[in-house]
């Protein structure tokens, strides 16, 4: 049966824009570059039926089915990152050395249920 809330494309599970500015968190004195970066986050519905572009696992398909039959008992699947990218940060350490460091899984590229 139809969901109680209307599903609009923007409410489906997908990456949402989140820009992290290092100067906003007071780190501009030791971070050389970048000044900030697009980290994004996942948000949105995983409604029944799950469509292919929602990157869902088999279990998520099962869970949406059970949720559609028993919305109070079983929640919808979560909308989570399924593909992430690394970033590099150039910064000064406490001994004024210049450090280039790579961090995995810092940017959300794709979300899924």
């Amino acid at each position: 049966s139809a969901q109680s809330i209307p599903i609009t494309p923007s409410s489906l599970c997908r990456p949402r824009r989140l820009y992290i500015s290092f100067s906003d968190v007071g780190w501009e004195n030791w971070i050389i570059a970048p000044q900030g970066y697009l980290a994004n986050y996942c948000l949105g519905e995983c409604p029944f039926p799950l469509t292919a572009e929602l990157n869902s696992t088999n279990h998520a398909i099962l869970q949406t089915m059970v949720h559609s039959l028993d919305p109070e008992g079983t929640p919808q699947p979560c909308c989570v990152p399924v593909r992430l990218s690394p970033i590099s940060i150039l910064y000064y350490d406490n001994s004024d050395n210049v450090v280039l460091r790579h961090y995995e899984d810092m940017v959300v590229d794709e979300c899924g249920c």
Partner: protein
């Protein structure tokens, strides 16, 4: 926010927020690698890319350039055939315990921007010693406190000379104390162009076990 900040710094592998006293220029090698990584399309990021330094073909996710904290052993011209005798010291104590050192490269930079015509330049001899004993301030390093690491003849055709010191740097961290190095440059017929000696730095690549553990299984 202090708690959130300290947790975020910890997740970035930093025990505290760095507070640099001065902003030294960014070494061009690091800037080049940073820029090349920035332009990589995100679709091409294989899970291990952030834990390997392709430019040096070694595992690693942290690259540091240490500035030399040593000093010239002589004020003015050193004795004999020596053109330069300098103590080099790179303070590797900033490396965290969980970091595995995978490469250390010494760079000796010169500032000359003209080159002797072929045949006209005279050779110089470079020797690098490892100190195993600290001399008193201002006195020459004791002979028996040094171990010859490398020696090379060169003509000033390059702006920089690069030497692999990975073994020495690993040794400093694991077995013995880091008492620095002694750099000597001598010339059998004078010291042509020794004034163009600029500085030395040590580029060190390490792999953080915490951040480069097998990454979580992906769907």
């Amino acid at each position: 926010l202090r708690l959130q900040e300290s947790l975020l710094l910890k997740s970035l592998g930093l025990s505290s927020k760095p507070s640099p006293r001065s902003h030294t220029p960014v070494p061009s090698v690091l800037w080049r690698i940073f820029q090349s990584r920035k332009t990589l399309p995100s679709t091409s990021n294989d899970p291990g890319a952030a834990c390997r330094v392709e430019e040096f073909n070694v595992p690693g996710n942290i690259i540091r350039v240490f500035t030399d904290q040593g000093h010239f052993i002589h004020h003015g011209q050193p004795p004999g055939l020596l053109c330069l005798q300098k103590r080099l010291y790179f303070n590797l104590s900033v490396l965290e315990e969980g970091e595995r050192l995978t490469m250390a490269q010494l760079e000796i930079k010169f500032s000359h921007n003209s080159y002797p015509s072929p045949g006209q330049g005279q050779g110089l001899d470079l020797r690098l010693y490892r100190s195993s004993r600290l001399p008193l301030q201002g006195t020459p390093a004791p002979e028996h406190g040094q171990k010859l690491l490398l020696e090379r003849s060169f003509e000033q055709l390059h702006k920089a000379l690069v030497f692999d010191l990975s073994g020495v740097a690993r040794d400093w961290r694991s077995h013995s104390r880091n008492l620095g190095l002694i750099l000597e440059i001598a010339g059998s017929s004078g010291c042509p162009g020794i004034n163009s000696f600029l500085d030395t730095s040590l580029l060190v690549v390490t792999l953080s076990q915490q951040q480069c553990r097998a990454s979580r299984r992906r769907r």
